[in-house]
């Protein structure tokens, strides 16, 4: 029920993001999502690729500091307040969201929300009980 995401530690200096994206691009790896959490000195690049396992292998081999994280993926209608409703559910249950991002695929009328939470099992159970549609990696 969970979505796998790759996270890469990256020093904040020119050329690093190119190195990462090029390493994957030249091997024909396609990104589904990509976001960067940045601080003054470093960033964490988080992304989902069409082939996460291969992307992981490639980056390991190239010497990147990379890990795999499991996220909760939720699909909601692409309309106002849809995100707020999901967040409200989590808040009511006193569950902490570590980070979250969302994206909309063109020619779909749904939005996808990806989040990392403290207690994944509990969150999955809660969302299922509330009838929220969860994503698996394949749906992406």
């Amino acid at each position: 029920m969970l979505v796998k995401q790759l996270s890469v530690f990256m020093e904040n200096r020119p050329g690093r993001l190119y190195k990462l994206t090029h390493a994957l691009g030249k091997e024909g790896i396609d990104f589904v999502t990509l976001s960067i959490a940045d601080t003054k000195d470093f960033g964490i690049v988080r992304f989902i690729a069409r082939d996460n396992e291969r992307a992981y292998e490639i980056l390991k081999k190239e010497g990147f500091t990379v890990g795999i994280t499991e996220l909760i993926g939720v699909e909601v209608d692409d309309k106002p307040n849809a995100l707020a409703e999901v967040v409200a559910l989590m808040e009511e249950a006193d569950m902490n969201i570590e980070y979250l991002y969302s994206f909309v695929l063109t020619n779909h009328n749904t939005a996808k929300i990806l989040m990392r939470v403290e207690d994944t099992d509990r969150a999955v159970k809660l969302l299922e009980e509330k009838g929220i549609k969860l994503l698996s990696e394949k749906i992406l």
């Binding site: 470093f42 010497g63 500091t65 980070y99």
Partner: protein, 439 residues
């Protein structure tokens, strides 16, 4: 580390297990002979002793050692290249030299007698790491003017082990040879050994396909935490070997399997600890500068040579059975000491601090700058290669822990910068850990 796969044994019990009085008698005889010999054969020594108004006859036992003047690296450089030989040029069979960071090379000439002594002490050392005739010793120290390569080589051959003179460099080839030849022992610098360990997986190899059981690592100071890392990576017992080309290459002292201090081969090299400021000899257990007097060498014997290495000496019988004096791990060279905002800082202290934190690797670089007349230290450290970095807060907390540890070890704050795995320059010889940009 699981149960050790190697057996420490005493190569020459007749010298390594003497009582203190037997050792002192032997040292006294050899010292008297050496002082007389250098006075008669080495011009700079005769001049020095005349200046201090000391005659060889004034030296009757080891207790008279402190009457003799010191020798420093500068004396050797001033006599560049061969002015410090006591032996005739025709009797010198091998020449080594160490490069300083500044100035001329320090040259050391060895007679066949000296090479034999060196081989013997290196053999005693490797025996502590369990090297026998059945072992295969892979030497990845550089072969050349640097004594590391040939020293380990002579020791392994003296024992009769198969010796592989791989020399330094070409990591993939090193790993392939280690695995395919079934090396049981590795000799190189500890930083390079760790580098080899971390490259195994990247090279698509598996440590389980290696036959390594132990190794002798030296030529740069390293910490106990680094040993743990090395032992974990290579599945070996990692022991510290000490030497310096001026006295003899690796094998002047070596750690036994008790792993708490290195046995000095004091029937050949008398160790002393002095206060580097007052130059007064200090008793056992005090920290100070290590000084050696060679008492069996003939090519270029040295009297009270100041190593600049800081450590302590302890006497007493070791659990391994040896009775030779032990030296602690070298804390640093007095030349390596950084004075930052008036505080003495050794790179080894910083390394020890870093290694207490999970999530970082032993690869680091210390930068010292002077900004607005204030010394500023930045430490760049690589994250551990196996870290799965997803949360900014996890990385920030690693950084915070390093800051706290460094501060508690050296009493100064340093700016910590976490770097990508593999981004800090690797060295295949002695690791460069400090870049001082204040001058």
């Amino acid at each position: 580390m699981a149960k050790s796969k190697l057996k420490d044994y005493i190569y020459q019990p007749e010298y390594e297990c003497l009582s203190r009085s037997e050792m002192e008698n032997l040292q006294s005889e050899r010292l008297k002979k050496t002082v007389k010999y250098v006075y008669e054969h080495c011009k700079p020594y005769r001049a020095k002793m005349d200046e201090f108004k000391i005659k060889p006859s004034d030296i009757r036992s080891v207790s008279d050692l402190s009457k003799l003047p010191f020798t420093v690296k500068h004396d050797l450089r001033a006599a560049y290249p061969f002015g410090f030989y006591s032996a005739d040029q025709k009797d010198i069979v091998e020449v080594h030299a160490s490069s300083g960071t500044t100035g001329k090379l320090t040259v050391v000439g060895y007679t066949q007698n000296d090479i034999d002594i060196w081989s013997e002490v290196a053999a005693r050392s490797l025996a502590m790491a369990g090297v026998t005739k059945d072992s295969l010793v892979h030497v990845a120290y550089g072969y050349g003017l640097f004594t590391g390569g040939l020293g380990a080589h002579y020791g392994a051959q003296k024992i009769g082990a198969s010796t592989v003179p791989a020399s330094a460099g070409n990591t993939i080839r090193q790993l392939t040879l280690l695995r395919d030849f079934g090396a049981t022992h590795l000799c190189c610098t500890p930083s390079y050994a760790i580098f080899l360990g971390t490259e195994i997986e990247k090279a698509g190899m598996n440590i389980d396909d290696f036959s390594l059981v132990g190794g002798a690592f030296g030529a740069e100071p390293w910490t106990y935490q680094m040993r743990e890392e090395l032992e974990r990576l290579l599945h070996i017992d990692a022991l510290d070997i000490y030497g310096l080309s001026e006295i003899s290459g690796p094998g002047v002292a070596m750690e036994c399997m008790q792993k708490c201090g290195s046995h000095v081969q004091e029937d050949h090299f008398i160790p002393e600890i002095i206060d580097p400021e007052t130059l007064e000899p200090l008793p056992f257990g005090s920290e100070g500068e290590l000084v050696f007097t060679t008492i069996t060498k003939t090519g270029q014997p040295l009297i009270r040579y100041r190593t600049r290495d800081l450590c302590t000496l302890t006497a007493g019988k070791c659990a391994c059975g040896r009775t030779t004096v032990k030296m602690s791990k070298v804390k640093g060279r007095s030349d390596d000491m950084l004075i930052i905002r008036g505080v003495n800082v050794f790179p080894s202290q910083i390394e020890a601090a870093i290694m207490n934190v999970a999530g970082v690797s032993p690869h680091y670089m210390i930068y010292v700058d002077r900004i607005n007349n204030l010394d500023v230290m930045e430490i760049d450290i690589e994250l551990a290669g196996n870290l799965a970095p997803d949360m900014v807060s996890d990385i920030e907390s690693i950084k915070k822990k390093v800051e706290t540890e460094v501060n508690s070890y050296i009493g100064l704050s340093a700016k910590i910068k976490l770097c990508e795995s593999g981004s800090i320059q690797r060295s295949e010889g002695k690791a460069v850990r400090v870049i001082d940009r204040r001058n």
